[in-house]
């Protein structure tokens, strides 16, 4: 039972991540920089 439940959680998490996670596709991976600080919509920086 526990194995089944964990398998279900894993399946849901992975499916969601790799389907929903692909929304708002941005082919330019520079948009995903770790440290994308800068003056933005709320004039705040990253730390």
């Amino acid at each position: 039972m526990k194995k089944l439940l964990l398998a279900l959680i894993a399946l849901s998490a992975l499916t969601l991540t790799f389907t929903v996670g692909c929304s708002h596709v941005d082919d330019d991976d520079s948009a995903e920089h770790n440290m994308d600080h800068g003056d933005d919509d709320d004039s705040s920086m990253s730390m």
Binding site: K2, K3, L5, L6, I9, A10, A13, L14, L16, T17, F18, T19, V20, G21, C22, S23, H24, V25, D26, D29, S30, A31, E32, H33, N34, M35, D36, H37, G38, D39, D40, D41, D42, S43, S44, M45, S46, M47
Partner: protein
């Protein structure tokens, strides 16, 4: 559950091994601990400087009972600014003795970095032993934790390097549910507080992910008032320790409207592609996994050997009645973190947490949930190594060599790329300017305040923050997670030189002396552009700075 008092020799050996790994992975940082910083995968040293300053500020205030701690001397005259960024109070307190022994802010920062990487390894080692894993398996899990690629990619953001408090919460939770008691409840509360007081973001994320994964740990015997009482004590301990910081953050947030828009949070969340990227080339070529063209790009794939071993650990654990709950808990913790790293992409969940969880709306980089997933992978890798060793022992020497090779691969498969170091600002290069600054006895502005709106544009201001122990003057300059909203106008007014409007605004902020980098504006340009609002008073050509009196805006009157 095993006795957590592991063999002392083993612990010392593990600590020494992890320290060597940490030094090797950050080479050549150790060669100039007091003079250089690593920006990690970022370009400028702005964040390391600001972090070194934050650690110094806590060490400076501790002997005074933390008086004025919130009113850190940046963004003058704004009060309460220390709550506008990660204050790292626990790291500040732990590192303070180094400062009192005479270490400079940069040396303290670098020791904290190396110490944190070592502690990351020790925490997973300790958790592994707590979970009855063999010493080699616990050691391997710890080594994986020292070299987690996601941590090394963030070496330039020192707040994000210590993952040991996250592991500490996992350990305290498992320790508590094994045999609940008031003492263990209090320890769990202290562990949660330690996580929050090291890095508020990690603390918040850890509470959410452990709460969602914690269902696995509930069993019939735990449903009784005594356990509830112990948990309540833990909540009180955590609340009391966290409250001063959390309340200050809440006040700052409410007063200045500090909140991230959903658009901003989306930019700061992980795209599914990020989970198929590595920051550096990994040892095992794997189809569909690619190397980021720039190590600074979000890259969250933890490594093929690690994932393989973690999966083996899950399968092995789920087939054993005495292990399945622990393994399921850690695996769910990692999976929950994986999902939450998507931020607003997982719209209903994001909306729910943003509404319900205090602090969630203030988080900019939800992709950092991914760090928790990596922590889970490191712990599960230790389980996998345990299973692998068990299997190899039954199959003779070639299998043992094969197993050893795989374990080593899991540790080093994503060895951090070459660590870039940047020479930190030295007081020696600005000695006369600093002497003059000290003599003023009043708040100052060092121009330019910023050269552009990126982190690099604030590097110069952050350098003056690092030198604050030398000049001792509150400054308008600063760098932080959030900025006082009214500063934006001042930044704009001073973006293209010391305009009269900008200098008048400085005067109104109580600034009557400014230091200007001569290569930005020389004396003639500064006086002309300010239309007489600045009057030259001193200069140090060999250091490249001029000092001016503000004659407008009421600063000196």
């Amino acid at each position: 559950m095993a006795n957590p008092r592991t063999d002392l020799h083993l612990l010392i050996g593990a600590a020494a091994t992890y320290l060597v790994l940490a030094i090797a992975a950050t080479w050549p940082l150790v060669l100039d601990l007091g003079g250089s910083v690593s920006p990690g995968t970022d370009e400028p040293a702005t964040v390391p400087y600001a972090s070194a300053w934050a650690l110094w500020w806590t060490a400076d205030r501790l002997p005074h009972g933390l008086a004025s701690w919130w009113d850190a001397p940046i963004f003058h005259p704004q009060a309460g600014v220390f709550a506008w960024s990660e204050a790292m109070p626990l790291l500040g307190v732990l590192a303070a003795p180094l400062r009192w022994l005479g270490a400079g802010p940069i040396a303290v920062l670098n020791v904290v970095l190396l110490g944190s990487l070592t502690a990351n390894g020790l925490s997973v080692f300790g958790l592994g032993r707590l979970l009855r894993l063999s010493p080699p398996a616990a050691l391997a899990g710890g080594a994986v934790a020292v070299l987690l690629p996601v941590v090394h990619a963030e070496l330039g953001v020192p707040t994000l390097v210590p993952i040991w408090p996250i592991v500490g919460v996992l350990a305290a939770m498992l320790w508590f549910v094994h045999a609940p008691s008031l003492g263990r409840g209090a320890l769990l509360g202290a562990a949660v507080a330690a996580a929050y007081l090291t890095c508020s973001q990690y603390g918040l994320f850890t509470v959410i992910a452990t709460a969602l994964a914690g269902g696995w740990l509930i069993r019939r015997e735990l449903v009784q008032p005594r356990v509830g009482g112990a948990l309540l004590l833990g909540a009180v301990v955590a609340g009391l320790l966290i409250a001063p910081l959390a309340l200050a953050q809440r006040t700052a947030s409410a007063e200045a409207g500090l909140e991230r828009s959903e658009t901003r949070a989306l930019k700061g969340s992980a795209h599914a592609q990020a989970w198929w990227r590595t920051p550096w080339t990994q040892a095992i070529p794997t189809p569909t996994v690619r190397t980021a063209r720039d190590p600074g790009v979000r890259a969250l794939f933890p490594g093929t050997a690690k994932l393989g071993l973690a999966l083996l650990g899950v399968i092995w654990g789920m087939r054993r009645e005495d292990r399945e709950v622990e393994v399921a808990f850690v695996a769910t913790f990692a999976l929950v973190a994986l999902m939450l790293s998507l931020g607003p992409r997982l719209a209903p969940v994001y909306a729910l947490f943003r509404d319900l969880v205090p602090g969630y709306a203030q988080v900019r980089s939800l992709w950092r949930f991914g760090v928790l997933a990596h922590v889970g992978v490191a712990v599960l890798t230790a389980f996998g190594v345990h299973a692998l060793i068990e299997a190899a022992e039954r199959r003779g020497r070639p299998a043992q060599w094969g197993a050893a090779t795989l374990v080593v691969l899991a540790v080093v498969e994503l060895w951090p790329g070459p660590v870039r170091t940047i020479e930190a600002p030295s007081p020696d290069g600005r000695r006369q300017t600093l002497i003059w600054a000290v003599a003023q006895g009043k708040p100052l502005a060092f121009l330019p305040l910023r050269t552009d709106a990126t982190a690099a544009g604030y590097e110069e201001s952050a350098a003056w923050m690092v030198l604050q122990p030398e000049h001792g003057r509150p400054t308008v300059n600063g760098y932080s997670s959030y900025f006082p909203p009214d500063l934006k106008e001042l930044f704009d007014d001073l973006a293209d030189g010391p305009s009269r409007a900008g200098v008048v605004a400085l005067g109104k902020r109580g600034i009557c002396r400014v230091v200007v980098r001569s290569s930005w504006r020389d004396r003639a340009a500064a006086e002309a552009e300010s239309a007489g609002a600045l009057r030259w008073v001193a200069g140090w050509p060999e250091e490249g700075y001029d000092a001016y009196e503000v004659t407008a805006g009421g600063g000196c009157r």
